[in-house]
Symmetry: C3
Subunit: 208 residues, 3 copies
């Protein structure tokens, strides 16, 4: 992993930890509860990716990630003391950054470890969406992936763009950053203009 | 794995992917959201089994499974265009097929990898029920395993029958198919006649 | 693992299996459904710990754990026949015992396997809280970790105390038992007097 990619990874952990802490704020958790929810959001996806790929889990190898989460959660608690000013959109945007970063970095790690391309894209998606999914399931809110807006699609796009740029022979850093920006733009556009693909809709006979 | 068992496994993936896609249809997901929910349902259980057994995850080794899920989800979206005609029972029946197939095939794989018999039966149960459980948890519906009807019991029966037939020296294919049919019959009977074992009931003092 | 620690581990499995069975009783599950919920609660956390650490999952190596769960669930079903007398507090107390035991034993196992200290404490926390979390998520109740009372904090305290005592050179058994009692006392105090740390509170603009 190049220097740049490492810091992008840390940045992804920070934004996801922040989104977890913000969500925790809606539940009046004590500080350690906030840290737990931050951690689950920030490293849940990458953990599942590493476990499925059978490689050593990244934060077991490098505990810096845990300190970053602790610091992020602590800063969120300390600085967000006037929390009524934080609109829900902030959580969505932090989540979008994490989604785009992790989808591309996850795809990259899987390819680096020799996974076939479709598997690598799925790994990227898992890295990007699983942490937020667990956060939402624990908090008993409907996971973002079940909302109508583009979500999984953005993660798949990011991973696919990385695969394409990589195939085209772009340098590692450029390919990664461009793929991240692509996924991020799609997801942010979906949030701002509520863009969505045509839905697959089944209305149940008995209205359930 | 014999040829027959491989195709049974693929068939299990198809019916579970179909059940995931049908469930997704209740949430107006975009096409990629449907694919994600199909995938989680179809390969969630087997993934957990392989991770716990410490063997290479099956779909990382053989990406054909991912293509099968993609195709199943796409076909479901394209063909189920008049979705009001799909009663909830269809989802239950697809789920029952997946449950029976995966419970037996999961037990078999675990035994093949040298797990002790009780562990193998538990692995079969995990393979059969975990995917559907994750699907239900993500969709915020009460998991089928928490319903009164026979569910986990059918999975355990399937695995146990396979162990028994195997012990009796039946051929691999015959033992597998008979165990699958046994589990399937029990689960379908439970759906049609709403059979259930006597419940273990605790009514809480304060009515919670 | 010393003899004492092994039996403490079994005892943790029993109390968590009991808490899972009690929770199952609220849902009129059939006996096998009760067993499944007991098992998920009792071995879910340790399974995640072992998978993340990349070591062989404990109950795959030693199926005795499965028999203990089976026996606990069966005894709960048979003996708790007048269930209206079981107040919700019983479930909380059983859960507290499991939490304290597993948090310390999980930290210890991770350190024994060579994990860095912060990772070991996180592993202890996962071992202590994950099983109960999965139980609560499956049953669609808000996980205890999202309640205001001290919960994750008790698990982290237990793990940290073990690390400290270990560093101070206390004997394995004494360090473990003292750390367990510390975590247990904190959690029980939180239940009885509803103690909680000052909450990190965000009230959303639109009241969500």
């Amino acid at each position: 992993m190049t220097e740049l990619l490492y810091w992008l990874d840390i940045f992804g952990v920070i934004v996801f930890a922040f989104s977890g802490a913000l969500m925790a704020g809606r539940y009046q958790l004590d500080p350690f509860g906030v840290v737990v929810l931050s951690a689950v959001t920030a490293i849940g996806g990458g953990t599942i990716r590493d476990v499925i790929l059978g490689t050593k889990v990244f934060w077991v190898k490098d505990p810096l990630y845990l300190y970053v989460i602790l610091a992020t959660a602590a800063l969120t608690i300390l600085l967000v003391r006037c929390p009524k000013r934080i609109p829900k959109r902030f959580l969505l945007i932090a989540d979008a950054f994490g989604l785009a970063l992790f989808a591309v970095l996850g795809t990259q790690k899987a390819m680096y470890l020799g996974a076939p391309i479709p598997v690598a894209i799925v790994m990227g998606m898992i890295t990007g969406v699983a942490g937020g999914m667990i956060r939402d399931v624990l908090c008993n809110v409907i996971p973002m992936i079940l909302q109508q807006e583009i979500y999984a699609t953005a993660a798949i796009l990011g991973g696919s763009m990385y695969v394409l740029f990589n195939y085209l022979g772009w340098s590692e850093n450029v390919a990664t950053v461009c793929a991240i920006l692509g996924a991020l733009k799609l997801r942010l556009a979906a949030i701002y203009w509520q863009v969505s693909l045509p839905a697959f809709e089944i209305v149940d006979k008995d209205g359930k």
